[in-house]
């Protein structure tokens, strides 16, 4: 493991569990959208599938040791933050007919705003585990 930050112990353990849950939630949401109305609205499906992918990558990267996994985790969490802020703003402030039924719509309101809090928790934890590995 060397000096690479350990992201998969302590509070990170809980964080990874929540990320895994959202990977499943976003995947099932996109599966539901394929099953019901992919033809009329491919955009929500694509967004949900993208969110699912981001959560999946973040889950695996946080759970794995090593500095490459750490960098991937940082990138995934930043993309997640951008995703929830962009999709959240576009839906909450009504920019056109942006899809309302993805994990990130209205800043994750349908999921108790956890999708909005999660990337901040992720960045906090990534930073904290980096500091811990250096001391």
């Amino acid at each position: 493991m060397g000096d690479a930050p350990a992201t998969n112990t302590g509070p990170g353990r809980v964080l990874i569990a929540v990320y895994a849950l959202f990977a499943v939630a976003a995947t099932s949401r996109s599966a539901y959208q394929i099953a019901t109305r992919f033809d009329e609205a491919p955009v929500p499906f694509l967004l949900s599938a993208f969110a699912a992918l981001v959560y999946l990558v973040a889950t695996v990267a946080l759970a794995r040791p090593g500095s490459t996994a750490y960098r991937v985790a940082v990138a995934a969490v930043l993309v997640e933050l951008a995703g929830v802020l962009i999709v959240g703003s576009a839906t909450a402030f009504g920019a056109g007919d942006f899809p309302r039924d993805t994990v990130w719509s209205d800043f994750g309101r349908g999921y108790g705003f956890v999708p909005l809090v999660l990337p901040f928790a992720g960045l906090w934890w990534l930073r904290r585990s980096m500091t811990a590995s250096r001391s």
Binding site: T9, G12, R13, A20, V24, S28, A31, Y32, A35, T36
Partner: protein, 121 residues
């Protein structure tokens, strides 16, 4: 779906979650009683699965049968996966993982109910 059974499952998993929260606050690592507690909730979920399969055969299937079955499978996987992930962590955070898993169960059960009743989204 059988409403009464769903309420029992939701009540049991919330009670289990409260117990896990209490253990987290008291700085306890996940121990044998927590595994047994998860087993009890899991048993109720298995009962719900059996009842759901019987009702699928008797009353016919909901509109989104595939998604419904996917949620049924997920409902059984949440706690075993949570235990697997929790027990390797010898700190209060292991117990906190169990808390997260326990809180996910009622969400899945409510979604199952919605899918059965044909409510969208």
């Amino acid at each position: 779906m059988l409403d009464v059974l769903a309420y029992v499952v939701i009540g049991a998993s919330l009670a289990y979650a409260a117990w896990c929260l209490y253990a987290v606050v008291r700085n306890q690592v996940p121990r044998e009683p927590h595994v047994i507690g998860a087993g009890v909730v899991e048993l109720l979920l298995v009962v719900q699965l059996v009842v759901a399969v019987i009702m699928l055969a008797v009353e016919g299937s909901p509109d989104q049968l595939g998604v419904f079955i996917a949620y049924l499978v997920v409902s059984l996987l949440v706690l075993p996966l949570g235990l697997f992930w929790a027990l390797a962590e010898k700190s209060r955070w292991g117990t906190a993982v169990l808390l997260v898993a326990a809180l996910a169960v009622p969400v899945v059960v409510v979604r199952l109910q919605q899918l059965w009743d044909g409510v969208g989204g």
